[in-house]
Every structure is written in C-alpha cells, then in structure tokens.
Subunit: 505 residues, 2 copies
C-alpha cells in the first residue's frame, strides 16, 4: 500500500550530522509539535507540542505555588509612557515591541483601515515589570505587605527579525515571576531560589542538565543589577539559555515608586526580582534528546507515555483487538509513573491509519509504543518498544507489563538525563587558554562546545569576543563545580573570574 510504505520511512532528513538546524526544523514538523504560522515570526503550537507545555506548566506551577507565590493576571497592553520610566529597561526592549495605535477598524473604499487613534499608544507586553510595578506601588504600603510574591502565565510579544520555531518567535508563552521584598538580602535569596528551581525543573523534569551561573553585565536583563541563567548544551554543542532570574535592586521600585513604611518608621523603596521560563524550552528539549528517527521525549514531559497501537491489518475479531488494546492501556494506567501520577497511556483508535502508526509515534517521541494484534491477544502478552531503543522488541505477559513499563519509563528518564549529562561534560574544553586557540575552536571545530576559562571582567574583552561568534554564557555558580585557572582567555591578563564561553541559540 502506498500509505503504508510512505509512513514506513521513519528517519528524518536531513540527519543531525548533515545539517543540525535543518534536522531540528524537520523533527518539529515530523513530530507535529508546531509549525510556522502564516503570520511572519509567529508559530502555531499543535496538540502534541501544547501537551508538553501543559505538562511543564502543571509541574512548574505546582513548584511556584509551593514556594509561596500566587498567580495573577495583568493587562497585556501597557501604556507607552510606562516604558519611559526605567531608562535601561526601555533601551533594552524598545527595538522589538508591537505597538497598538488604533482601537477600531473602518471600511473605506471597500477596504478595512485602522481608525480611532489612541491618545497614548499601547505596547503589547514584551515582559511585565513596568505594569506589575505600577500595581505593586498601590498594594505595598508597609513592611507587613512584604514580601509580595506574584507569578503570571501569559503570552508576550517581542518582534523577531530572525524567527526560529520555539526558540525565537514573535509571540511566545511563558511564566513570569515578580516579587518585592523589604531587604536586598531577601530579594537576592528569592532570585537565587528561582534560579535553583529552574535548574531542578529542567534537570529532573526535562532531563536536561544545565550549568547555572551569573550572566556577565553586558548580558543582564535590561534594568537588572544581576541576572542568572541556566545554560543547556544542545547536541550541536551550542548553548541554549533555558531560564533566567533577575535581581532588579531598587531600579523598578524607584521608577514606579514602590515604597513602604519600614518597621523602624522609615519610608524605603522595595527590592524587586523577576524570573521567567518559556515555550522556548520545548525547542531545547528537542535539540537535547531527539535523534535521527525524530523526537525523543523524557517520560515526565510526554503527553502520552505509553501509546497502544492496535494492529488491525488481519481484521479485528469483533473488536477484540481494540478491546484488548484498551485493557493494556488500563493496566498501564494502574501503575504509578516517573512523575508520581498514573502512567499516561493512550490507545490510538484512529481508523484508516494503522499501517504507519508505530512510526508516527516513534517520530513524535512517545516513550513507549505498544503494538497489539490478534497474536498478542491470544497469547495474553504485550509487545512493546522503548523510544530510545526502537530496534529492540520487548515482550511481557499482560500481568507483568504494568510494572515493566513503569520501570522502563523511569529508566528512560534517567538514561536521557545521564546521556545528556555525559555529553555536556565531554563538551566542555578546559585546555584552551589563548584567544587564538579559542577562536580557532569556535570557527573550525565541528560542533564546538563550551570553553571553560578565566575572564578578567573587562567589557572590552567581551566585545573582542563577538567576532568569534561566541559569548560568555555565564560565570558558573560554585555549585556547578567548574573552575578554571590561568589568565583571561581573551586579553591574557590576570583574571579572577571563571567563565563559560560558547556559541548560542
């Protein structure tokens, strides 16, 4: 059959080795995660991609609330003048904002045109510090109102000249935390707490090892005093910034007049933090774990963990195969999965498509695919494959299957993490100590990874680095256990800081 043979082609083309960016785009397409929208720079997140996002949201929301933050929702359209208040903030964002100037359409000569010009233009939020700060100023009067711990799930728009699906799109979905504190120490503790939360979430839930650290001054969030990031390494060696946490000091508090009467009777400005994580991470997930057969999803993030494909080629016996498929699904769902909930099992009941279904779910990265046919039904057995090892067919008796599959999911989660952790460790060069050597590496190596070396802290050195295409990704936290010796990688002068250099998305 034409359909069968078309679907039987499993590998994606190009492969990672042939063309990594091309492979990435093709995996996103083949796994049906998302597609570019007809609107330039925007994307449509399809059910399988949105399912991953909903899993991520649920887990992260739980953690954010456990830490004492409350969810809120602020207007998306922000008066232009709000951006004028914090000079660094606007300098960093002004180049990429969508601006609403009219509130009506009118028909003129049979064509719709904008009408009802606004007295003050509104900006579609690129981030919400300015508008949330405005309300914080209303809500905070006394030290008793602090800390104020807020979080928002929202869409944001940042105009992108070189869009890339999930990684850089004009609109994306994210979570943005915004807090206010009475003291600098508390605000810094909050910033670090969020930074640690992001590290734990990406490593435990997405099986993506990261290097946590502080951003160099030039890469700070516009208006922040300190920015922290977690940096993951993609399979092509490039870095992906996967979550950032900012200590804003009193900059935004002064701009919006967020002040409080302290316990000593003095009026003081509050100290703010903000931190965010977005749908960009779905792109990172793909680039860390997937292979030349398509997407590979860590079980905790997979919308379905076990997909049961009924094989009806030889015809079903009065629906007995479909019924058996459901029985297998129910059995799996009776077991606890690697995220503490029931195993998420799904029977693919779509008619017409049975021939290519196994490959379709392989391309989509379902952690376990089960095929059940008449033979399995008659033998009371289950035939299944793990996504990271699709060539090996496993067979279990029906009553042994739930425990076996739960163990396989947990193992697969751990395996993906261990594999990526090893790749990250192997991908850090510590032996490059001159700028010439580093430049050559970033320019000539196939898939150059990170370079760990010292940095003197001079902005000039960062500028000198740019032509090599690399940047300082961050200055690794002590907890990362990464320290370098020697002089500044760029200028060769004495240097006290350890920096992680790399190409990035």
């Amino acid at each position: 059959m034409a359909e069968s043979s078309r679907h039987r082609r499993t590998g994606v083309s190009p492969t990672r080795d042939e063309d990594f960016p091309g492979w990435y785009q093709e995996v996103v397409r083949a796994a049906d995660l998302a597609e570019p929208a007809h609107v330039r720079g925007a994307m449509v997140i399809k059910p399988w991609g949105y399912g991953i996002w909903q899993r991520m949201q649920a887990r992260l929301d739980e953690e954010i609330r456990r830490r004492g933050h409350e969810n809120v929702y602020f207007p998306m359209l922000i008066p232009l003048s709000y951006f004028q208040r914090e000079a660094d903030h606007v300098a960093g964002f002004a180049k990429e904002m969508a601006v609403v100037t009219h509130h009506r359409l009118e028909e003129r000569d049979g064509k719709l045109v904008p009408a009802g010009e606004l007295a003050e233009p509104l900006v579609v939020r690129p981030t919400s510090e300015t508008i949330i700060g405005q309300s914080m100023a209303d809500w905070i009067q006394s030290y008793r109102d602090l800390p104020l711990l807020l979080n928002q799930w929202a869409n944001v728009v940042r105009w992108e000249l070189r869009p890339r699906i999930f990684l850089r799109t004009s609109e994306f979905l994210w979570q943005e935390g915004h807090t206010a504190h009475a003291t600098e120490a508390e605000a810094i503790e909050e910033t670090i707490g969020s930074h640690r939360m992001y590290q734990q979430f990406t490593e435990d839930f997405l099986a993506m090892p990261v290097i946590p650290g502080e951003k160099p001054p030039s890469e700070r969030f516009p208006g922040a005093l300190q920015s922290f990031s977690i940096e993951a390494m993609m399979q092509d060696g490039k870095a992906l910034q996967a979550g950032t946490s900012h200590y804003l000091g009193q900059n935004f508090a002064r701009a919006a007049d967020i002040s409080f009467l302290d316990s000593d009777g003095q009026r003081r400005h509050a100290y703010n933090t903000s931190w965010g994580m977005s749908t960009r991470l779905i792109g990172g997930l793909i680039m860390v774990h997937s292979d030349d057969d398509g997407a590979v999803l860590p079980p905790r993030a997979a919308p379905h963990q076990v997909v049961i494909v009924p094989i009806l080629r030889g015809g079903d016996r009065d629906g007995a195969v479909l019924e058996y498929a459901d029985q297998v699904a129910r059995a799996a769902a009776g077991e606890t999965g690697p995220d503490g909930g029931p195993v998420r099992a799904h029977t693919d009941r779509r008619p017409h498509r049975s021939a290519g279904k196994r490959w379709e779910w392989t391309r989509k990265g379902a952690p376990v695919v089960v095929e059940v046919g008449l033979r399995d039904l008659d033998g009371g057995q289950v035939t299944w494959r793990r996504r990271e090892d699709p060539g090996t067919v496993q067979s279990s008796a029906l009553d042994a299957f739930p425990a076996a599959v739960a163990a396989a999911l947990a193992e697969q989660q751990d395996l993906l993490y261990a594999r990526a952790r090893q790749r990250l460790a192997d991908g850090i060069r510590r032996d490059l100590t001159t700028f010439a050597a580093a430049q050559e590496y970033f320019r000539d190596a196939k898939n150059p990874g990170f370079v760990l070396a010292r940095w003197c802290g001079a902005p000039d050195c960062e500028v000198a680095l740019k032509p090599a295409g690399a940047t300082i990704r961050n200055l690794p936290d002590e907890s990362a256990g990464l320290t370098a010796d020697g002089p500044c990688l760029i200028c060769g002068q004495d240097a006290g800081l350890t920096a992680l250099y790399g190409l990035s998305y």
Copy 2:
C-alpha cells in the same frame, strides 16, 4: 486596636438592595478578586480571583479533553486582511479591535514614539475563527482528517467603551473551541454538545442554574448560522449570558477554503463550530451567590474551601496553636471534597493581621472558616462557620471534623444551587402577554426578572423591544421545559416561538 476595629466592619456598602451595581463592584473589591487596571478598560485579576479561574479552567479543560478535543495555541496577532474574508464577521467585530501598526519604538527628542510601520496592520484577536480557519484549510485534505476538534485557552481583546470589571473588560481570558466536520448534522451535534457542556458546568460546578436556548437571529455571533447561549439570572433579575456555542455552517470554510475530499470522491467545504466561555463568569458567580457580607463562593470553585485562622490574641504557647491549626488543615485535607479531590484546606499564617482575619475570609467567600485558639487546642475541638450561615458557630471534636466539614461543603454547594434555582423560577413572569404590560414591568418593577412569552419571529418586533431596555435572551431549549402560549408579546400577532425576554448585562 485600630486595625482590629477597622477589619471588624464586615458588611459591604452599599447593600444589594441599596445599589446593586455598586454592591457588585464593592464585593469584587472587598473579596480582593480583581481591580480596575490603570489602563482604561482593563483589569488586574488578583490571586483570589485568578484562583477561581484556575479551578474553572482545570474542570472545563478536563471535560473538553474528555470529549475528544485537543488544546492548541494560535498567534494572537491576526493580519487585517483575514477579517475582510467573512463579511458578517468583520461587520460584527470591526468596531472594537485593537490594531498593531508598528513594531518598534524610537526615541525622538527624548520621547518614545512608534516606529517601524507594518506593511499590513495586525489585529489583536477578538476571537480566533479567521486565523484558526486558515490553518484548518492546510490541515484538512480528506474526510479522514475530520472531525478536527480544537480548543484554545487565550486572552482576547475587544475594545469596550463602558467597561465593567469581569463583565466587560477590554481584555479577558477565555477558552475558545473550534471544530470542523464533514456534515452539517455532525457540526450541529457538536454545537449542541458544547452548549450542554456549558450548562452542566455552570450548574454543577458554579451552582448557577441557567436557561439554555437559541439566540434570535439579531443576536447571533457575527458569521454564524445559529448561536446558542445559556442565560443565568443575577440577584437583580438581569440576565448574564454565560457561555455561547455557534454553528457556523460553511461560512468560514468558504472564506478560508477549508475543503476536503469526501469518501464519495467529491470535494466539499467543511462545517464549522465555535464556542467560548470566559472570565466574565466570575462576575456572574458573584452576582448570583454573594450577599451583603461579601462574596459567597460555591465550594467546588473556591480556591480554598476551608480556611483555618489561628487565634493568637492571648499569645501562642510555643507555637502550639499554629501547630494545631496545621493539624486541623491536614485532617480536613484527608477527606474527599465535593469536587472529588481532597478538601482544599489552608492555614492563614500571616502575622500581624489575626484580628480581622475571620471577617476577611468571610468577605472573600471561603466556604468554611475555622478559628482555632488555645481553648480549642485544649479541648481537642474545632470551632467553625459555614459562609452562607456565618452567624451559626459549629463545634466538632477534631476526629469528627473532617467528615462534618466535607458534608457541609457538599451541602453548601447544593444549597447555593437550590437557592439560585428557586430565585430563577420565581423570577420568570409568565402572566405578561401584552407589550404595554411588559414595558411597564421592565421599566417600573424593582429588579425585574425574565418574561416568558411568545414571539412571532419578526426582526421588527425585536427592534421595537429595544427602547424598553430588554432583549430576547434566547428561545429556550425544549429541555428547559419552558413554553408560553398566546400571541407575540410585542406585536400581538399569532406567534409560534417561545422567547425569554429580559434586561441583561
């Protein structure tokens, strides 16, 4: 203490009787659900309000997915030209859209101004039929691709000239379902299915009885062939449209060319539906259940169902009272609540504010408020009150408390529904059969409710009705068991339709 006496004032002012719209605004404020934003027409949804929305989302999302729909996310900015394709649609929405015309800000003479004018303006989605239709046209090729059942959780913007918190705001949050089908019959079945889902959700979960029915032609969604609504009655007798389901026929399919090769080899346009429910419902919830002490929340929708307030006035005994409070919370959470999950119990550990806390939670509508002090601890008992009967103090032994509170929550959910159902039944006049009588009722009665009477179906009669301030809310479904006799309420001619007339929000 000043603080204590300030918080002890519980009732909201004005009362429902004195000024219903004023009371509503005051309850929203006193319960700390939301507040008007500094941006005109927009609101800030605060933690307690957003908590209700998250509860609603979780429940409705589960039901939408159970019915086979998949969540997706489409771009918020829609090219202007998309709106030109469906003439009725644009005529209905053109008056109230936010239009993005620039993608950058530039500083000129120290002032930020919009720059980077777009070749084609983008409209902030007021609803997503046009952009989702565009993708449906790509995704649907054959009858095998149907039905296509999508849902989106999103923010939308409709410029409002007379904003009202939750009820009419320029931006609101909602869920929008969009489906495509091979036949008219299937699409109509889907429309009715969503309509029934909304009725069940509002009645079971929000304890808001509604009258389901079809909208008259003049009140249809722009571009729809049939629109269905559920109409709830507020305590002032006015109707609130609480969820709408639209059968779009092939209008949008023709506009976006959503067509498929049918099993008979013919190319046909698909049949579409769309349906939505929004944060507006939070306003409805308040206006149906709340009283002059503040908000009253149905237990299923309440973010916390049981709030434990530790009484520390006499001082705590080495934290023993706080510990006992947590013990009470854990005991309650061990019980299954009226929504099938564990009872949501919360200990209010905020320092400084203990004096007014009980009243604060009463105003917020927490279904059960527990106060625990040294005496309760020593007696091993729990002292508590139900929100809908705050004057009656209940006392339970600690081990009997979980079952008692779970029963009280279930009872309260039922009681709120029964009370609102009775009010709705009492609020429908069936004895008004002349236009003059109806006009007088809508004009002169204190809080006029609904009028059930016949309608001849003529648009002229609907127009004639407008000066009375009333509209035809819907033509009740057979399932509502509401039929009227007699002539058309407006023109007095023979009439075959039963209509529900009323004032509305």
